[in-house]
């Protein structure tokens, strides 16, 4: 009975993480389209939500489960997963509160690593996986997107430089709808799977599913729905940061940032090198601004984003570890997770009440 309650809590928490992933990370995907006027805010968000939903059904390769390469799967229990998810959700909400785009995947990895270390010790961590699959890509992703977007905007301006501004702006705005759509689809495919994988692992650990089982349809559908609803709710604070606060972008820069982002993400997907969507898009936005003029990038805002990226893994790990420790005060039963869930829901309600009114849709600034 107790394990069934923990399982239900883990599933609910995983779907809550998926929801925060939707409004947190997809904000990056649609931010440039909205800020250049390529699409109206609600249309861009609705389109991205739909493509996130569709993307979740494209592939169900649960082997892509986010934590399996960085922590020893043998030691994972539903309570460790629960504490890790709380760490990830908490960090997503903290960065959303301050309007900082950070990686939900890194938050999830950090949370699970922290809770696993708190439960078992550092032996639970696969250092090779953590460095090779998380830390190195975290450095490579923004630098690569920065360079590709910077070169791309140079090509764009050179090719269309003598054309009338009207047709150029309209053309790149149409292009942004395509590149933004591709990014949203890729995001749905990658990130909804993480939630599916975690719920499936919890079902297997509980004995509800046989080992090596594929996720049942209701898991796929609920993960797709949660990420799409999160996307549709709109992470306006992060959209403002990525779309208007890093650089004031025109349509060509928006297209270059999104096109470079889509190319980098799909190339990394093809060659099995995991990169963060958030890092890629924001690196692309900075690259398309810096290539035009270095001073066009508001480096203070970019610095805050870098700090958030550096803090994501340790902060989510600390919260995950503390959460695990707190739940164990009440033993191994369901009481600890129930209390943490109630406390988390109360904090989330307060945070939303204080900040939701400050997150109005973003106006287009691009020419």
């Amino acid at each position: 009975m107790s394990s069934d309650i923990i399982l239900i809590i883990v599933i609910g928490t995983a779907l809550a993480f998926d929801f925060t992933n939707g409004f947190h990370d997809t904000a990056n995907v649609v931010a440039t389209s909205i800020s250049t006027g390529a699409a109206r805010p609600q249309v861009a968000i609705g389109f991205a939500a739909l493509l996130n939903f569709v993307g979740a059904f494209i592939s169900i390769s649960v082997a892509a489960t986010v934590a399996k390469d960085v922590v020893d799967a043998e030691v994972i229990t539903p309570t460790i997963v629960f504490a890790g998810l709380i760490g990830a959700i908490a960090w997503n909400l903290i960065t959303w509160y301050f309007g900082l785009p950070s990686s939900s995947s890194h938050a999830l990895i950090g949370g699970v690593v922290g809770s696993a270390v708190a439960a078992v010790g550092f032996d639970a961590v696969i250092a090779e996986g953590l460095v090779g699959k998380v830390l190195i890509p975290a450095v490579v992703a923004p630098v690569l997107a920065f360079l590709v977007a910077g070169l791309a905007i140079g090509i764009s301006y050179r090719v269309v430089g003598r054309q009338r501004p009207g047709i150029v702006t309209r053309g790149y705005r149409y292009g942004q709808i395509l590149s933004g759509g591709l990014l949203a689809l890729a995001h749905g495919t990658n990130d909804a799977q993480k939630t599916m994988g975690i719920i499936t692992l919890a079902l297997i650990a509980n004995g509800t599913l046989a080992a090596e089982s594929d996720p049942p349809f209701w898991v796929i559908a609920s993960a797709a729905t949660a990420i799409a609803l999160g996307t549709y709710s709109g992470g306006w604070r992060i959209i403002k940061t990525t779309g208007t606060r890093i650089i004031k972008m025109d349509a060509a820069q928006g297209f270059s940032a999104q096109g470079a982002g889509a190319a980098v993400i799909l190339a990394s997907t093809h060659f099995g090198f995991p990169l963060s969507t958030t890092h890629v898009i924001n690196g692309g936005v900075m690259g398309s601004g810096a290539a035009k003029r270095l001073s066009a990038v508001r480096w203070g805002v970019a610095g805050n984003i870098f700090v958030a990226w550096l803090l994501t893994l340790p902060a989510a790990a600390a919260i995950g570890g503390l959460t695990y420790g707190f739940t164990r005060i009440f033993g191994t039963g369901a009481l600890g997770p129930i209390l943490v869930t109630l406390m988390a829901l109360s904090l989330i309600a307060v945070a939303f009440a204080r900040r939701a009114r400050g997150g109005a849709p973003v106006e287009a600034t691009g020419a």
Binding site: A149, I167, G175, T189
Partner: protein
């Protein structure tokens, strides 16, 4: 040791493919816009042959972009 952890081959392939795809798609899409812009300009200047040629160039470029999008979706579905 570092090479084992980082998977240098995957990293270099990712960088190369990202640069080629990112710059290639941007160039093709920009060429499509150039073609459309030139078509309008040349049509106004009553140069139908040159206008048609610009439109054809733009059309091929747009077809290249469409092909890249299809490849992108195939990459996602074949994961």
């Amino acid at each position: 040791m570092i090479a084992t952890i980082v998977h240098t081959d995957e990293l270099l392939q990712t960088i190369a493919a990202s640069v080629v795809a990112g710059l290639g798609v941007t160039f093709l899409f920009s060429l499509a816009i150039w073609g459309a812009g030139q078509f309008v300009e040349l049509s106004r200047g009553e140069r139908p042959v040159a206008a048609t040629a610009a439109l054809v160039v733009g059309g091929f470029a747009l077809a290249g972009v469409a092909a890249a999008i299809v490849i992108g979706i195939l990459v996602m579905t074949s994961k």
